[in-house]
């Protein structure tokens, strides 16, 4: 009997002590690739930080973030939750029919009000009296069709849409909900796949009376795309592949990216619509118009009509906007999460709004989390 306790104790000591020694000795990592975030670092030790409790609080984050085999442990947790305890989600990420999505079922009235107020501010400040071609379209997220298919709770999209549409009476609403199914999105990411949204681009262009095309070459990249839900779910999901659409117009467009510049257009070196360097970044989806950018101009020199499209947008537009280039001489993309609304006039002149098509194009998810609008 005694030997049983000795061996049992030694087994536990061996496992826990090994992990403990590794935790003490492991060199801290800088970032978590799977979670796409920086990892907590060893906190500063001083009398102040110790007495205020700051050190201990930050050490707890450090100990959790830098734990050895962190990703393997996260996967063990996800497997336990999904397959042992039969829970339907892990970290609010659920998987149905091979598609991962985030549970979101509560409409934030405060966020919707904030979004509506911001759009009204933009209209009154920059648009009113300059053009009547103002449009609104709300991009449904994957949950719209995926949640219902798997009996997961989701937002009341009708209520959300009605709230926003009624709040911006100056904009003509373009309904793209019927055009999208969850299979039109990446399996591991929140975004839609570009090759599946040509009909969405057409619906919007038709509503705005702009020229459209279906003449695209489809290119599928070899790069494995592990979307944002891959890391959050912690499950070993198969990667997506990114397919992009291109044609002569898109290839010849010049993109002026204001991010990290002095804001003077003449000083910005033009780049391409598809930024292949981003395929090696944490988020390969950023290959579409270089990802999160405060202000950007896509200039199509082939179109000499002088027609402009100004889109107030989020990241979904990055893969949609290239499909709208045909009918415009220039598309201006403004993301008010990164560019303060009151500051837009410094980069986009009032004349540019004259007779332009203006499109407010936001995903339902962003409208429900609009507190980042500046």
């Amino acid at each position: 009997m005694k030997i049983k306790y000795i061996l049992s104790s030694l087994l536990i000591i061996a496992v826990m002590l090994t992990l403990s020694v590794l935790a003490w000795m492991k060199a801290p990592g800088a970032t978590s690739e799977s979670e796409r975030r920086p990892l907590a670092q060893f906190p500063e030790i001083s009398v102040d930080t110790v007495l205020s409790g700051k050190f201990t609080k930050e050490f707890e984050s450090y100990a959790t973030d830098q734990f050895p085999f962190r990703d393997s442990f996260r996967t063990l947790k996800a497997i336990s939750k999904f397959y042992i305890f039969r829970q339907n989600d892990n970290n609010d990420i659920y998987i149905h029919d091979g598609y991962a999505a985030k549970l979101e079922s509560t409409i934030s009235d405060a966020s919707i009000t904030n979004a509506v107020n911001k759009l009204n501010y933009l209209y009154k400040t920059y648009i009113e009296g300059k053009t009547s071609n103002v449009y609104l379209s709300i991009i449904p997220d994957k949950n719209t069709t995926l949640a219902g298919a798997g009996n997961y709770p989701s937002l009341d999209y009708n209520k959300l849409t009605e709230s926003v549409v009624s709040g911006v009476p100056f904009a003509k609403y373009i309904d793209v909900f019927p055009l999208l199914h969850y299979t039109d999105y990446y399996k591991t990411d929140t975004h839609w796949s570009q090759e599946k949204i040509v009909d969405v681009a057409h619906a919007i262009l038709d509503a705005m009376g702009a020229e459209k095309t279906s003449d695209y070459k489809e290119v599928t990249l070899d790069t494995d795309f592990y979307g944002v839900y891959y890391g959050q779910s912690s499950l070993p999901l198969p990667p997506d592949k990114i397919t992009y659409l291109t044609n002569e117009t898109i290839e010849n467009c010049k993109v002026y990216n204001y991010e990290g510049t002095d804001g003077v257009l003449e000083n910005i070196k033009p780049s391409k619509v598809y930024n292949m360097d981003k395929l090696n970044s944490k988020d390969p989806y950023e290959m579409f118009l270089s990802g999160a950018v405060n202000l950007m101009r896509i200039v199509n020199e082939k179109n000499t009509s002088g027609k402009k499209l100004i889109i107030f947008r989020d990241s979904y537009t990055s893969s949609l906007a290239p499909l709208m280039t045909e009918g415009y001489s220039e598309i201006i993309l403004i993301d008010i999460r990164y560019l303060a609304s009151h500051f837009i006039g410094a980069f986009v002149s009032p004349e540019e709004f004259e007779n332009a098509d203006v499109l407010f194009l936001y995903s339902a998810l962003i409208l429900n989390q609009s507190m980042s609008f500046k």
């Binding site: 000795i6 049992s8 826990m16 409790g53 201990t56 959790t64 442990f73 947790k77 509560t106």
Partner: protein, 465 residues
């Protein structure tokens, strides 16, 4: 520091265990005391001095009580101990509650003190009080060695959430205790079970409660799902912590008293309180209820005693009216049981169990509400008077998503798993069990680690007491 946190599990505990088992016997209590002070100071550096002050006060007053030649002096020092403890608790825990209510009654606006509650103050104050009272009664001699006394009060396994270990129960072990691989293994096994109860069951149920609170898609069924989830959450959270404390105590050679004995199988409220948080119940019985006369008094006096004890029990859990009401609900139920409920229910075990659990669950709904208004809304919602639909999509989702956890929680609240383990351990499979069991313990520890590495929800409910 949390037992269910990476700093404790992989930084603090291994180092303390190594040092503790390396140093000679005469230094073991010093190691325990110093590590306990670090453990407490980790989370509450500024209140470390408060605890050290309480220890010193308890030590010297215990000595003074014992050394006093006259009964009057003994009583004086005991009174000092009781008054200082009441002042300490009153100031840090109840001052704002009283100021708030005083303002409400008088219309004054005396500013609140907004003092953060020192963690574990209710537990260690009660431990010091039990020591000075026991010394006064002559049940135990005073502790001459201040390190031993400080070790008793600050002992980290039970410092911040109990069980409320009385000095009389551990005074011998403070001086002389044994260690063995058997104690080590059984202690770690108990710790792993407690950690699993906390991380795998309680935390999951806690998340259901949080989701319910934020949901815009409530229903009558969701109110009941919430109520059941909280009942499981509070039991597995607190009993899990007690298991971890008792397990760690065993590793260090102590035998702490049990704190829970399957309270959810009770068939009456009085039985429930003999099985729930037993160390607190017996503390109030021995140091408040019996000194007030207990039940060997006239009916009116007994009613008074009962209300006082249960109001204090409620208040001990928190400085808010819902805790007072929660305590008083139990006073009324216990009085009802004494006079007529038992006769009404008869000997039907099923009805008795349903009656008990119904009121326990209702009680916990009041207990967990942020205020009395919410408690009222929750109860109204549970009984279909809030205008809610019978069910909703969110209800079905969270019920089905957590069905296995609910079932494990319900089964785990009964002695069934323990009985099954005992039967298997005594059966022909004994050999196999002795191999599987330590592997299962390791697996549980690893799965809990996985949850802690990836989890953000990890509060301990009883930390606020």
């Amino acid at each position: 520091m949390l037992f269910s946190g990476m700093p404790f599990l992989f930084y603090f505990l291994p180092v303390v265990l190594i040092i503790y088992f390396i140093v000679p016997k005469c230094l073991k209590n010093t190691v325990l005391m110093l590590s306990s002070l670090i453990f407490y100071g980790w989370g509450e550096p500024k209140y470390l001095f408060l605890m050290i002050g309480s220890i010193l006060l308890g030590y010297f007053l215990g000595m003074a009580i014992d050394k006093s030649k006259t009964a009057g002096l003994k009583k004086l020092f005991l009174s000092l101990s009781v008054i200082s403890s009441v002042i300490l608790l009153g100031f840090f825990k109840y001052a704002d509650f009283f100021i708030y209510n005083f303002n409400a009654v008088t219309g004054l606006s005396i500013p609140l003190l907004k003092i953060a509650l020192p963690i574990g103050i209710s537990f260690y104050t009660f431990q010091i009080l039990s020591y000075t009272i026991d010394v006064y009664r002559g049940d135990v001699p005073y502790q001459k060695n201040i390190i031993n006394f400080a070790t008793y009060v600050a002992l980290f396994p039970q410092l911040i959430a109990g069980p409320i270990v009385r000095y009389v129960d551990v005074c011998r072990e403070l001086e002389e205790r044994t260690h063995s691989f058997e104690k080590f293994y059984l202690g770690i096994r108990r710790f792993a079970v407690g950690l699993s109860k906390k991380v795998l069951i309680a935390n999951q149920m806690g998340e259901v409660c949080d989701v319910f609170r934020e949901s815009a898609d409530k229903s009558v069924l969701f109110f009941w799902v919430y109520a059941l989830a909280f009942a499981i959450h509070v039991y597995f959270d607190f009993s899990g912590y007690s298991d971890m404390a008792i397990g760690l105590g065993k590793v260090f050679g102590f035998n702490f008293i049990e704190n829970f004995n399957y309270p959810y199988i009770s068939k009456s409220i009085s039985e429930f309180w003999r099985r729930w948080h037993m160390s607190l119940g017996s503390w109030f019985r021995d140091y408040v209820y019996i000194p007030l006369g207990g039940n060997r008094v006239k009916t009116m006096r007994w009613l008074f005693n009962t209300f006082v004890v249960w109001m204090l029990t409620g208040l001990w859990h928190g400085a808010a009216w819902n805790f007072v009401v929660w305590g008083l609900i139990y006073a009324i139920l216990l009085i009802g049981e004494k006079f007529f409920v038992r006769k009404l229910i008869g000997k039907n075990a099923i009805i008795a169990h349903i009656y008990t659990m119904l009121f326990v669950i209702i009680g916990f709904v009041v207990f967990n509400a942020p205020n009395m208004a919410t408690a009222g809304q929750d109860l109204i919602g549970m009984f279909g008077l809030g205008g809610y639909a019978l069910s909703s999509k969110a209800t079905i989702y969270h019920l089905s998503s957590n069905a296995v956890i609910f079932i494990l929680g319900i089964i785990g609240s009964t002695p069934l798993p323990k009985k099954l383990h005992s039967k298997l351990s005594e059966s022909k499979l004994q050999g196999l069990i002795s191999v599987i069991e330590p592997v299962a313990v390791v697996c549980l520890l690893l799965v809990c680690t996985a949850y802690l590495v990836d989890g953000s929800y990890n509060p301990f409910l009883y930390f606020r007491f």
